[in-house]
Each structure stands twice: as structure tokens, then as C-alpha cells.
């Protein structure tokens, strides 16, 4: 694979016999119509005719279909998996769009116009000319408490969301605090309860009134939903147990950030640990800007 920031024109890189961005134009139009409806009803899960993608379900087929439908030849795409640009899922999806669409790729959050993500929101605040596409494994926040699809649809329609708090109650009763730490349910625009995909709840506050458009695609479950720019997104909580995020006590060992979400990396079998930003682009930019010297370099 070429360097990510090497730009190549579609003619050089497109795969012969495939349409631009893999999906045929009719499918893309169908997905765009679904997205428009999803944007019009923030947080509402719109069913769509999810297609087979040349990737297994669970690898981001929903997000890929959205990206394929909205990406244009003048877009710049960034793909992250758990915040990192160089993990398996990110690399394979980026390679897919590099070959089928030939659009410009970047690792820099600020330079991207479309960002497809799995499990994280970038640390760098997004702008209103950017689109964040989430890969969603399980779009239905009520599913664990109500197995029937007909019933969950009715509960959404009638705003019967008391049962969401049963889960949070159970957390507090068992552990003394709300221990749900990812895919933390949110109320969008005061109406629909939505699963924000398995992002850490650390990222939940970033969704609130975000300037960028947020699109969510679930390929296996055949659902698309959206949070339009500047839409209020409230994490569910109790009055006497308000929503709070878990902040690690450590700083990033590479860039020294105490703001970002950290990954713990076990370095040896003697208890050695390294804490690094899960957002690799954010970490690198801080180091390049002459932030704190890394610990490994200091040693």
C-alpha cells in the first residue's frame, strides 16, 4: 500500500469493473434518501436496504455504505478504529476506498471532510464542514431490555423510555455508581433515545451540539440514524447520580496530554505499562508541535 497521504487519481487507482466507491448509483441514492430522512428526525432509526459488502458484518459495513454514498471525488477521507489510523479495521476500510473511489486520504483530523470511525470521536473538535460516520453494531438501545422489535418500535414511537433507567438503576444498585462505560444511551433533541455506538462515555459530551453532522450506519441491522449539526444530545442519568465521565489519572506517556482518552498498553510481564492517547493523530500532532517529550525518549 502506498503512503496514506500520497494522492492518486481515480483512473490510476480505481478497480476495473466497479462503480465509483463500490456501490451502484441506485443504491447510493437509496442510502442518501435514508440519510435525509434520518437527519430530518434526529435520533430516529430509519430502515434501509443494506447491501452485502465485501467485508464481514461487524467490520463496519453500515458505516462503509454511508461513506460510499456521501463521498465525492473532491472529499478527503479519514478512517479510524478505536481512535487509531493504523489498526486493522481502519487500514482495510481505507484501502477499500482508496482502491474503489481513489479519493484523497488523510490521517489528520483537521484535513478530513469525511471521517469514518469505529469506537471513538476524534479529540480535535470537529467543524461544521465535516461529517462523522459511525460504524454501529447494535443500533437499538432498548434491545437488552426488550427483545421484541415490534415492541421497541412502539416504545420509541410513544417515548416510553422509563426502562432505560432500569438499567442505570441496576448499575447503581450493584456497584454504587453508573458503570455503563461505553455505548452509553443518550436522548437526542429531547425526543429519541439513541445508542451512540460503542464509543466510550468519555466521548458522549462531544456529541452534544457538535458542529459536524453525525451519521450512524448499522449494516447487519439495516438501520441508519443521524444527529444533525448543533443538536442537543443528553446522556441519560439520575438527578442524584448525574452523568459523569471517567478520566484516567495518568497522562499520555508520549505527548503528555491529560485531556485525551488513553489506551493502556502492557509492555512486559513485570507490570510495565504504557498509557498512550487512543487518538493517534491527536497524539502525533501534539508531539510534532513540540509538546512534552515522550517518556521513552527521555529514558
Amino acid at each position: 500500500m502506498t503512503r496514506l497521504d500520497d494522492r492518486a487519481g481515480p483512473s490510476e487507482i480505481g478497480v476495473a469493473g466497479y462503480n465509483f466507491a463500490y456501490l451502484d448509483e441506485q443504491t447510493k441514492r437509496m442510502i442518501r434518501r435514508t440519510i435525509l430522512k434520518a437527519v430530518a428526525i434526529p435520533g430516529y432509526q430509519v430502515a434501509f436496504g443494506s447491501r452485502e459488502m465485501p467485508l464481514a458484518y461487524g467490520w463496519g459495513t453500515g458505516g462503509m455504505q454511508i461513506t460510499a454514498a456521501i463521498v465525492g471525488s473532491d472529499d478527503t477521507l479519514k478512517v479510524i478504529d478505536q481512535g487509531a489510523d493504523d489498526t486493522t479495521n481502519a487500514v482495510s476500510i481505507r484501502r477499500f476506498f482508496n482502491r474503489t473511489a481513489g479519493v484523497a486520504m488523510t490521517e489528520r483530523t483537521a484535513a478530513a471532510s469525511v471521517i469514518q470511525t469505529r469506537h471513538r470521536i476524534p479529540e480535535t473538535p470537529l467543524r461544521d464542514d465535516q461529517i462523522l460516520v459511525y460504524q454501529v453494531p447494535m443500533p437499538e438501545p432498548l434491545r437488552y431490555l426488550e427483545p421484541r422489535e415490534t415492541e421497541t418500535q412502539k416504545m420509541h414511537a410513544l417515548s416510553e423510555y422509563g426502562v432505560m433507567h432500569v438499567k442505570l438503576y441496576e448499575d447503581i444498585a450493584r456497584h454504587g455508581r453508573i458503570t455503563t462505560s461505553y455505548d452509553y444511551p443518550v436522548l437526542v433533541n429531547g425526543r429519541y433515545v439513541m445508542a451512540p455506538s460503542p464509543i466510550p462515555k468519555f466521548d458522549n459530551p462531544k456529541m452534544d451540539r457538535m458542529p459536524a453532522l453525525q451519521l450512524f450506519g448499522a449494516g447487519r441491522e439495516k438501520r441508519i440514524y443521524a444527529v444533525p449539526p448543533y443538536t442537543p444530545v443528553k446522556s441519560l442519568d439520575f438527578e442524584d447520580h448525574p452523568f459523569s465521565i471517567d478520566r484516567q489519572p495518568q497522562n499520555c506517556d508520549l505527548c503528555g496530554s491529560h485531556e485525551s482518552f488513553l489506551d493502556e498498553i502492557v509492555t512486559d510481564d513485570a507490570g510495565g505499562r504504557l498509557y498512550v492517547c487512543s487518538d493517534t493523530d491527536y497524539c502525533r500532532e501534539r508531539r510534532e508541535a513540540g509538546g512534552v517529550m515522550s517518556r521513552s525518549a527521555a529514558e
Binding site: L158, E160, G162, V166, K167, D237, E239, H241
Partner: protein, 268 residues
């Protein structure tokens, strides 16, 4: 029948539930036919009959779960006057079901969430009507467990760890926490042994009296209705064959079927 019922009602009071000509067919087969009665506030109505006589069909029709093929069910709401249960919007009906009404299932597993603690089970209806204060919800749950004679230290246990009788009492606490005015019970003592049954009936009788609840109890156990119900409907083949005050019906049965039913009870 209303003449009988009026004896229990105070002047100027409206019936809580007015049932007129309720019928339910499953295709060509009959579930229940032309059932009419009034239920007054604070009154307990028993519905007895053998298996397949349409008791459960009628109860489901009354409780907003199964739309009747004909007839109407009108509920006198607290502040908004009479409400035709099946002409109201589904949202209104479901709100009614989880606030002003309660349904106690024969099998507690149908009415409980087995995967969450007893406290969450009792608190669910409070959260469903908008209570968002953990401390208050927990205090209410503790209070209600006490009222149904479940020890407070079982608050965080799951119902799977409870005995059958405790599960049934937990289900009752879960229903009563929103202070409903009308409770539907489908064989509330089914599947319990007699000593546990007796305690549960005792508890139910106390709760009904203290809270001024109206209740409709479906059962095939005549001993249960004798203890709980003020009035009795006897059903056979989807129709009401006899009705009246419980003691009158049980001690002086008029209809041949009721006579058979009463004489079939095994003396202990």
C-alpha cells in the same frame, strides 16, 4: 346487577369501569359474548369458571390488552372523565396500563423482569412515569417490599433467587407502587401451595382494603373468590351464566352449572 352493585356505591359516585356487550371471537370460535357489568371504586369482582370458559379472554379485553370484536369498555379516569379504552389512542391506553391500572399475571415470570434486581422491578413503573431520582425510587421500592412482607435486605437480589410466593408478592408490589385504582389479577394464587396461598390472600385482602383498590380477579379456585371478592360472575362457554354477591352465589347457586361447580369443591 347494577342494583346489587349500587348497594356498595355511595351517592353520586360513577362506576370505575363500565363494560357493555363485550364480545370477542377468534375467527368463528367464540371467546366470550355479550358481557356487561359495572365495577365500582373499591369493589373486588371475581370471575370464575372452568378452563376454556372465556375468563382470560374477558380479562384481556377488559384490561386493554386484547381488542374486543364488539362492545365497549369505559373507564372513569381520575381527572378527565370517562375514557373509552379502545377508542382512546394507544399512547393513552398504554399510559393507563402503567399508571392507573395494574395487571398481576398468574406466572410471575410474565410480569417481572427476571434479569434485574427486585428494587429495579418495583422502581420500573416509577421511572416509566418520569421519576428520575435514584434515592426516592429506592426508598419507594424498600417501602413496598416491606408492605408485601419481603425483607429489605433482598432489595438487590434478582427475582430468580426468590421463591414462587415471594415472586408473586414482588409482582404485586411492582404493580401497586404507582398507586393504581384498578388491578386485574389472573389466577394470582395459581401454582402456590396452600399455606403460601393463604398468606398471599391475606396480604391481598389487606392491601385492597387499605388502598381502596378496585380489582377484577379471575380464578377457578372458589376459595379464593370467597375470601377476596365482593361480587361474582360465573362463566361458561363464553357467557355469564350467573352473577351476584359472592356469598349468595356460592351458598345458593341457581344455575345448574354453578351448582355443579360449587358441589365439585373437595372438602378438606
Amino acid at each position: 346487577m347494577s342494583a346489587l352493585a349500587k348497594g356498595l356505591a355511595q351517592d353520586g359516585e360513577q362506576p370505575l369501569l363500565t363494560v357493555r356487550d363485550v364480545s370477542r371471537y377468534y375467527g368463528a370460535r367464540l371467546g366470550c359474548r355479550d358481557i356487561s357489568f359495572d365495577l365500582w371504586p373499591g369493589e373486588v369482582l371475581g370471575i370464575v369458571g372452568e378452563s376454556g370458559s372465556g375468563k382470560s379472554t374477558l380479562l384481556n379485553c377488559l384490561s386493554g390488552k386484547l381488542e374486543p370484536s364488539g362492545g365497549e369498555v369505559v373507564y372513569e379516569t381520575r381527572h378527565e372523565g370517562p375514557l373509552d379504552v379502545y377508542r382512546a389512542s394507544e399512547a393513552r391506553r398504554r399510559l393507563l396500563l402503567r399508571t392507573d391500572w395494574g395487571f398481576v399475571h398468574q406466572n410471575p415470570r410474565d410480569g417481572l423482569r427476571m434479569a434485574v434486581s427486585a428494587g429495579a422491578n418495583v422502581g420500573e413503573r416509577l421511572m416509566a412515569v418520569g421519576d428520575r431520582h435514584y434515592g426516592n425510587i429506592r426508598a419507594a421500592a424498600t417501602d413496598w417490599l416491606g408492605r408485601v412482607e419481603i425483607a429489605a435486605d433482598r432489595l438487590d437480589d434478582r427475582p430468580t433467587a426468590f421463591s414462587g410466593g415471594m415472586q408473586q408478592r414482588l409482582q404485586i408490589a411492582r404493580v401497586l407502587v404507582t398507586k393504581p385504582r384498578l388491578v386485574f389479577m389472573d389466577e394470582p394464587t395459581g401454582g402456590l401451595d396452600v399455606s403460601v396461598q393463604a398468606r398471599l390472600l391475606d396480604l391481598l385482602r389487606g392491601l385492597v382494603r387499605d388502598l381502596g383498590l378496585a380489582a377484577i380477579v379471575v380464578t377457578h379456585d372458589l376459595a379464593v373468590v370467597r375470601l377476596l371478592a365482593h361480587r361474582l360472575l360465573v362463566m361458561k362457554d363464553g357467557e355469564v351464566v350467573e352473577h351476584g354477591l359472592t356469598d349468595r352465589v356460592l351458598d345458593d347457586p341457581q344455575h345448574p352449572y354453578t351448582q355443579l361447580l360449587v358441589s365439585s369443591v373437595l372438602p378438606p
